[in-house]
Amino acid sequence: MRTTVIVCSIALLMTLAAPASAASSREIVVEVTSIVAAKRPASERGEAPVELDPRLGPFSKNLTSLFAYDSYTFLSKDRAVVQFSDATVFGLPEHFSIEIAPQQLGRDGSDMIEMLVTLFREVPRGKGGQGRATPERDVILRTKIRLKNGGTVLLGGPPIRAGVLVLALSARG
């Protein structure tokens, strides 16, 4: 009898827990860290160590082992709560912006967040005009990814004035 009660309680707890976790997965927290990676001029390169902005602590190992730049500087960090039916745009330096549209979490029981990521660059049209026309956006990158819940993916490459833009995109459901 006691065993039956325990088994039933566990079953009940499990059924109660299931909808709770489904409800909490209607939104995710997205964090975008903007980094500028740069090379020193060859004349200054020498033996100098890689310069790492201390604010990049969590990403330092990844940056230095994956890339060959001489310096990594923190530019900004933005965070947003995004609904699964929605998309959020993060403004980035120099006319870039990134849109994150989470699609689903935990398909097939996995712990992966599925999302559509689009990197835009605003292009002023009609140079010399007074910019009355709405600026258009070029889609520099559009990618569909499945990221481990709580994980980070690095996106980068677009040249900006100080070097190359690198973004650390993290998501947690």
Partner: protein, 184 residues
């Protein structure tokens, strides 16, 4: 989080002092009351400081040359026998120019191969053994660029576990033209 403000497009020129006087005054006044533009301007000026302290931006030519060479080898494999599964090594670039038609089909194959290798034929299970609870596992299902002059690729490494999605820009690649597979 914010949406781009319509004044943002003038900020770079404003920071450089390149705007005509009237527009300059408009932007100046706008920045006074727009927090988004003020912080954007700060970041442009921060970029400028970095630029001044490090000189002209460049990328590691060796790195790009190696990256592109490995890509070419991968694509050649696919060209030779699209059924043969190319081995995925650590930090191997696995995508191809979307714009360059010559590579487009091969690229699709590489991506398909990568996805198969990544998630297995049934789309289940991680692509490289056990993963820690807080791993950075990431599967790239699709990747493209719709803008001229940009070529997206991705690669994954196991230690540290990280997926990198990289957009090559002709602007940056200029330095290694003549070495890479796209060389003319």
């Amino acid at each position: 989080m914010r949406r781009p403000c319509r004044f943002e497009r003038y900020l770079t020129a404003f920071a450089d002092g390149e705007l005509p006087e009237r527009l300059k005054r408009k932007v100046e006044a706008h920045v006074e009351r727009c927090e988004a533009c003020a912080s954007e301007l700060d970041s442009i000026r921060a970029s400028d400081r970095i630029l001044k302290s490090h000189g002209a931006p460049a990328v590691s030519n060796d790195r790009w040359a190696q990256f592109r060479n490995e890509l070419k080898l991968g694509l050649d494999d696919v060209d030779r026998d699209s059924r043969r599964v190319a081995r995925v090594r650590e930090a191997r670039p696995v995508y191809a120019p979307v714009r360059r038609r010559a590579y487009a089909v091969a690229a699709a194959c590489v991506v398909a191969l990568f996805v198969i290798l990544s998630v297995g034929p049934l789309g289940i299970g991680p692509w490289h053994g056990e993963t820690a609870a807080a791993s950075n596992e990431c599967i790239v299902d699709s990747i493209e660029s719709l803008a001229a002059g940009y070529t997206p690729m991705f690669f994954s490494s196991q230690d540290p576990e990280m997926t990198v999605i990289w957009v090559f820009s002709e602007e940056v690649e200029g330095g290694i033209r003549g070495e890479g597979p796209g060389a003319k």
